[in-house]
């Protein structure tokens, strides 16, 4: 049983959700980074509790090995997550240069008034 992993995942998801719901784009970026970590951990928890198991290197030690498939998936996910984070960073940079703000509420503030008049 991996109750500590489950609780950790819960905390990470909660924090990521809270950050993503903010108005600040920087916080949304942070939320995204936390979210990808949390998702990786969910995948990791799928490999089952690691107690008494070996790393997935064949031919070493006699004990049973942990499931390597989630690990391969996570490795891919980490790198892809990096690519997406980098894209978001550049996007945020561009947004700031164009709109002179890093805040969604401020960005849409003028639009809100123009739409309702």
């Amino acid at each position: 049983m991996q109750i500590e992993t489950a609780l950790l995942i819960g905390v990470l998801f909660a924090c990521a959700t809270y950050l993503i719901l903010q108005n600040s784009f920087v916080k949304i970026l942070f939320g995204f980074i936390v979210l990808s970590n949390a998702a990786n951990l969910v995948l990791l928890s799928m490999s089952g509790a690691p107690d008494g198991r070996e790393a997935p290197i064949a031919g070493q030690g006699a004990g049973p090995m942990v499931d390597p498939l989630p690990q391969a998936l996570i490795l891919t996910a980490i790198v892809i997550g990096f690519g997406v984070t980098a894209y978001l960073v550049v996007l945020l940079y561009r947004l700031f240069l164009d709109q002179k703000t890093t805040n969604a509420a401020e960005l849409y503030a003028d639009q809100d008034t123009s739409e309702h008049t």
């Binding site: 790393a55 290197i57 490795l75 790198v79 990096f82 690519g83 980098a86 960073v89 550049v90 940079y93 561009r94 700031f96 240069l97 002179k100 703000t101």
Partner: protein, 180 residues
């Protein structure tokens, strides 16, 4: 983010740069049997290059590298794709890998080589290329330098576009507070 003009730091970084790349090469080569592989080695090499850029200043990097990291990444993708496509010529499935064992190689003894290493090399090149390019470009642009040289601009954008840095000076953020 201009490189710190410290002689000691610079010397140190040069040494670390070679060390890290040695480790990266080692990780790449042993990846098939031990923890390591193209992604990890690529990230390690990329971080060594980034470290170098911190020491020498990011503006100096094009001069040192002499090639566009995106070309490195494209070459990596090409290597990986060709490795995958090569078996097709022999009528085998896409991405089938082949292995051979060399015996009695000086210094190393028995060596196992196979096409997975080529594929991993492609991954390595790609990861190095994109990680470096993204950081260099962003660092340059945030310093108010042109992120892309004129030749590159044509490559990544349409003729109707112009570089960001021409329209947004480094201190436009402060104008915003004045306007408020």
């Amino acid at each position: 983010m201009m490189g710190p003009q410290s002689y000691i730091f610079e010397r140190l970084v040069r040494v670390v740069f070679f060390l890290v790349n040695m480790v990266a090469l080692y990780l790449l080569l042993r990846g098939h049997n031990w923890p390591g592989g193209g992604f990890i080695a690529g990230l390690a090499s990329a971080s060594s290059l980034i470290l170098l850029s911190l020491a020498l200043g990011v503006a100096a990097m094009p001069r040192i590298l002499r090639f566009d990291p995106v070309r490195l990444a494209a070459a990596g993708l090409l290597v990986a794709a060709l490795t995958g496509a090569a078996p097709l010529l022999a009528g085998r499935p896409f991405l089938e890998h082949f292995h051979t064992h060399l015996h009695g190689v000086p210094l190393l003894g028995d060596v196992h080589v196979g096409t997975p290493l080529l594929f991993d090399l492609g991954v390595y090149l790609l990861v190095v290329g994109i990680a470096c390019k993204l950081i260099f470009v962003l660092a340059q642009s945030t310093q108010g330098l042109r992120a892309l040289v004129a030749e590159e601009e044509r490559r990544y954008s349409s003729p109707l576009e112009q570089p960001l840095e021409e329209t947004a000076g480094p201190d436009d953020g402060k104008e915003r507070t004045d306007a408020d």
